[in-house]
């Protein structure tokens, strides 16, 4: 394995999910799991997380075989993070039925020496103070991307703003950036976020695609047209995994590479929603990925 894998810190969860296309009980999920499953096709990955004694670690074996270092997913006494939710007809909304933090509540990881030299870091959607604690343990990372959510914007805005001063890219969905900035127009909202610290902002818009806002330039990519969406859970983290997996694989952070990273993010998000859990992501080949990149190119090109 590469000495400098792409590092991700986030939740490792059990999800019970009902969608119009089926229902699953306590399948593996969480931001670190979806991210790793998407990123490992393009870069070695190391995941940092915590689970309880109830976690079916054997379900992550395939990730290990695909190059994900799971050593730092610590299994400790207690229950794993459990989330249960139900999606409405057409995936227009989702209702959270249960959230049990379990061992995740006290999660505040120590990064082992061998991983502190990673060049690319993804701070999954966890408490902003924990995100900052992780970041502070790193030696000179070159690209730090963080996610967040409405809950932290509401409850821990001060800590979140402190974190934002130190990250390179905030990756967030459209409703969240509107809540964070109080501004509806995405171009204006992204400028406000940039004034808080991050040089760039990635706004995820679900089926409508995503937009990268850099300094004085932008890149927009539409969603792929899918006729078999099964479960949108994990799409955002898989997008992040595709985005950072691509960049970590290249180790070049130019405008052109950011554009391509957005494309890989879109492609990995599109695979994630075609099954429950990481089932589809675990099956894809490099050729599947290239085919879908080429499909996205055809979908968007004009002379």
């Amino acid at each position: 394995m590469d000495r400098n894998p792409l590092l991700v810190v986030g939740s490792v969860a059990l999800d019970s999910i009902k969608t119009p296309y089926g229902q699953v009980e306590k399948v593996v999920g969480g931001s670190a799991v979806f991210f790793s499953a998407a990123a490992c096709a393009m870069s070695p990955v190391a995941a940092i997380g915590v689970v309880g004694e109830d976690y079916p670690m054997e379900k992550l074996e395939n990730l290990k075989e695909r190059g994900v270092d799971l050593t730092e997913i610590k299994q400790i006494a207690g229950s794993s993070f459990f989330w249960s939710g139900e999606y409405s007809e057409n995936f227009e909304s989702r209702e959270t039925l249960v959230t049990e933090l379990g061992v995740f509540e006290e999660f505040n990881p120590l990064i082992p020496q061998r991983l502190t030299d990673s060049k690319c870091l993804f701070l999954g959607n966890i408490h902003p103070t924990v995100q900052l604690n992780v970041l502070n343990q790193m030696h000179e990372p070159q690209l730090v991307v963080c996610d967040t959510m409405n809950y932290w914007i509401d409850q821990n805005k001060e800590e979140l703003l402190k974190l934002l001063q130190t990250v390179d890219i905030l990756m967030i969905n459209d409703s969240e950036i509107r809540e964070l900035t109080g501004v509806s127009n995405l171009l204006k909202a992204s400028r406000i976020v940039q004034s808080m610290g991050p040089e760039s902002v990635v706004v995820k818009k679900g089926e409508h695609g995503a937009i990268f806002f850099g300094m004085d330039w932008s890149f927009a990519v539409p969603g792929l047209l899918l006729d078999g969406v099964i479960d949108p859970t994990g799409a955002g983290d898989s997008f992040a995994g595709g985005f950072l997996g691509y960049l970590s694989g290249k180790q070049v952070f130019s405008h052109e590479h950011y554009r391509k990273a957005m494309v890989y993010g879109t492609v990995m998000g599109s695979f994630a929603v075609e099954s429950f859990s990481i089932d589809r992501l675990e099956m894809i080949s490099k050729q599947d990925i290239f085919d879908r990149v080429s499909e996205l190119k055809k979908l968007t090109s004009f002379e």
Copy 2:
């Protein structure tokens, strides 16, 4: 003027509109007006419509100078179509306050001989039977595009389905195609529409852009990133004007030209929303259009 201008039939209205950025009273609007204002930059246009004695025809003089044949906008005894609406903060919804059809209620135009040879026809959002009556008067048009709205889908579905058997492209927004087909997934919904008659479907998604669904191919274009949206009224008709104006100017209906037409539609829609009424559309130069096409190219290109 070209003997075969792009022909549009639709409403010619007076609009009173309130948005978070201002308020206007009885300004010129309606589908035929926005369409013509957008299309005339790229093709000669002839508009078919009806107004009452109260209509300020002098406000359309500029369109005439820009190559729009207004001869067939008939001024007759009675009141003009009047619409009044108010947009919510952030343009998330709009409320219709007043709709007075006036002389538009009896609108069922006779197309003069000199215009029946037009190759490109836009059937703006009016009663589907009137749309069909217009289409039946044409000699071998090469490209017929129609718009519709929720009201006709609810109230006159049978007539609408009859119309759809005879048009080449249905141009419709995302909520409308979902209502028409009962299917939320846009790819599946477009296939259903194609089975109703049109070879292609254009789905407009407002700020999220638009998608062209052809037979076995698609093209998606995101919205331009605008920081000065003043009034979204007429954006869809201006999109249609840009789309058909481009195609009528080229008189070639290849996949590549459809892609480019989607780009011109997006660009003209983006100008339309930057002012009330057609104020912004009336001011733009060919260079303004090319600049924005090039901006959209930069926004979406990747290697």
